[in-house]
């Protein structure tokens, strides 16, 4: 291309390029700037309308957040949760009929301790986020992940939903809100004036010990997620919020969904990725960004200057194969690049999954049926003889036995309890013999991790198995584990005196 080097020439050229380009599918007038799904091209104005509408529609459709309710937004600094924060701000400033009517607060959990970042690096990030949070005018809470060491073990107990809002309908609540209190969020509690992260050095050390004791990035990511979730729920409870909003977008959820299957969390899929999540009882988790793709979010943030902060995570600068989550992400994004409906197909599949949300009254009494860590219903006490889980147990048991003594035919009573500390210890005895084909020596575990096992779902068992010692876990988890074990022992002792339905 040879052209006269004059100023206006480049300009003309560019217009020409644009004039060839496609029109917005919605207004059919303006030039499209973004391809959302195959064939759907939006101009910036229509895209904004579509984006903003989707947020309100998501909350409106689900009718789960009541007017005047206090909602805690978990903001990680990433594009998706920052976009969620922006949409809440936007929604609160709308005119009457479109207005969001809940009372927001923000929580940020600084995970730098688990990543081995320096205090200065962490402080720098926190400063940046703090000025962003201040600008919203919402109350905010900035906590280092180290605070998990101060959690009470009650955080692992499901609390019953508060009785403050008995069975009033959504509609009645809206009317009541409009009559009595139009502007209660205009007089929010004072924004906490945090100047610095309050980190206890010994806790950072303990945190690093935990993560240092885990072999795989997959298990690290999983445990980090679990601890973070406990801290979020605790913060919501202790600061008087009844809903927790997470910023997962549909691309992220599609990745999590597929990764969960590989990680043995099939039974928990629906609750892990659905719009609302009732596993904690009193604090309901909602995911209002689950209708947006990562592309939509990033594009919107770019076009409308929504600030976000780049914060390294465990998988920063890792390769595609570093963890199951990372590998799944790369699989999904690659597939998405060639087949633009990949994410939406996975996402729609997840919609079809049924969430088995136990009715509050029946579930509260049965904490022992829930996983100690992820608080989902235990999938390991299923007695189906032909399940994949049983098959895994049997083969694990057989491989342990081979080492200790000549294989005897599988006894018909293979049960999880069978692999207590005794059986692993017995496995150790035969170790010198035949170098055990690498099987048993590596599988000798500290008794604690075996003890936790009966309290965990299949997937959390795998995560804890990856730790060199479960003793490193924060105290609130260990104490709750002990309490549950004592309770189940007691239940066992008095079993014959109990009526059936009590058991």
């Amino acid at each position: 291309m040879c052209q006269v080097d004059e100023d206006y020439n480049g300009q003309l050229d560019r217009d020409e390029v644009l004039s060839f380009s496609k029109k917005c599918v919605k207004c059919k007038e303006a030039t499209a700037v973004l391809v959302i799904r195959a064939g759907d091209m939006f101009c910036s104005g229509c895209f904004k309308e579509y984006f903003v509408h989707k947020f309100r529609a998501m909350l409106g459709k689900n009718r789960i957040i009541f007017p005047g309710e206090r909602v805690l937004l978990a903001v990680s600094g990433g594009p998706s949760s920052c976009s969620m924060l922006n949409q809440v701000q936007e929604g609160l400033s709308q005119n009457a009929h479109k207005k969001l009517r809940f009372i927001p607060g923000i929580v940020y959990i600084d995970e730098g301790g688990a990543l081995g970042l320096s205090v200065e690096e962490r402080q720098r990030t926190v400063d940046e986020l703090q000025s962003m949070f201040k600008a919203t005018g919402f109350p905010y809470h900035i906590l280092p992940l180290e605070e998990v060491f101060d959690l009470p073990s009650s955080v692992l107990e499901e609390s019953s939903p508060s009785s403050e809002q008995p069975d009033i309908t959504y509609k009645a609540a809206v009317d009541h809100f409009i009559q009595t209190n139009r502007n209660c969020y205009l007089s929010p509690e004072k924004q906490a004036d945090l100047t610095g992260l309050n980190i206890q050095e010994s806790h950072t050390h303990s945190l690093q010990q935990i993560f240092g004791s885990i072999k795989t990035l997959t298990a690290k990511e999983d445990l980090l997620q679990t601890l973070r979730q406990h801290l979020l729920v605790h913060t919501a409870r202790s600061k008087g919020y009844s809903k927790l909003m997470l910023g997962d977008n549909c691309t992220r959820l599609a990745v999590k969904l597929l990764a969960s299957i590989s990680l043995g969390r099939g039974a928990q899929l629906a609750i892990d990725t659905g719009f609302s999540d009732l596993r904690y009882g009193d604090i309901i988790t909602v995911r209002p960004m689950r209708d947006y793709s990562a592309k939509e979010v990033s594009f919107y943030n770019h076009m409308y200057n929504v600030p976000s902060v780049f914060i390294p995570t465990l998988d920063t600068k890792t390769t595609d194969k570093a963890s199951v989550l990372r590998l799944t992400e790369s699989f999904v994004t690659k597939l998405q690049a060639h087949f633009p409906s990949t994410v939406s197909t996975i996402y729609r599949t997840s919609e079809k999954l049924q969430t088995i949300q136990p009715s509050p009254s029946s579930s509260t009494a049965h904490n022992w049926d829930k996983c100690l860590l992820c608080m989902c219903a235990l999938d390991t006490n299923v007695v189906e003889k032909a399940s994949a889980f049983q098959a895994t147990l049997i083969s694990e048991l057989l491989s342990q036995r081979r080492a200790s003594r000549p294989v005897d035919t599988a006894s018909p009573t293979l049960r999880p309890e069978f692999q207590g500390p005794e059986s692993t210890a017995a496995g150790g005895v035969g170790c010198e013999r035949a170098a055990c084909g690498g099987g048993c020596c590596s599988s000798v575990k500290a008794p604690e991790s075996t003890e936790l096992k009966s309290l965990l779902c299949y997937s959390c068992q795998l995560t804890i198995k990856d730790m060199s010692s479960a003793d490193l876990l924060p105290q609130y988890i260990l104490s709750e584990a002990q309490r549950r074990k004592r309770r189940s022992q007691m239940r066992e002792e008095i079993r014959e005196f109990l009526l059936d339905e009590d058991y």
Partner: protein, 101 residues
């Protein structure tokens, strides 16, 4: 022979760690016999701006899937992607949508 091609700006969001933590780059592409297109720009970036792990930014002759490309604030999918011919004062933005950058 074309004259050197100054871009208005070249930004990387969410992947800045691969660029020594620098988000915004002032770029003037050197003169060459044919016009610059996006494909060549990616090669140039890889040679001149990327500080580490190029495979986390470029894959094959395109960007790694999950990294969005905007040319003058529009989706590059509407602009011809790799074939797009860069103009004087173009504004190019790369945004990583991948977790952790």
């Amino acid at each position: 022979m074309e004259s050197p091609l100054p871009l208005q700006s070249l930004r990387v969001g969410g992947a800045e760690l691969l660029f020594d933590g620098v988000k915004e780059h002032q770029v003037t592409l050197p003169s060459q016999s044919e016009p610059w297109d996006m494909k060549q720009l990616l090669v140039w970036i890889q040679r001149n701006l990327l500080k580490e792990r190029p495979e986390l930014f470029v894959q094959g002759d395109s960007v790694r899937p999950g990294i969005l490309v905007l040319i003058n604030d529009a989706d590059w999918e509407l602009m011809g992607e790799l074939e797009y011919q860069l103009q004087d004062q173009d504004n190019v933005v790369f945004i990583s949508t991948l977790h952790g950058g």
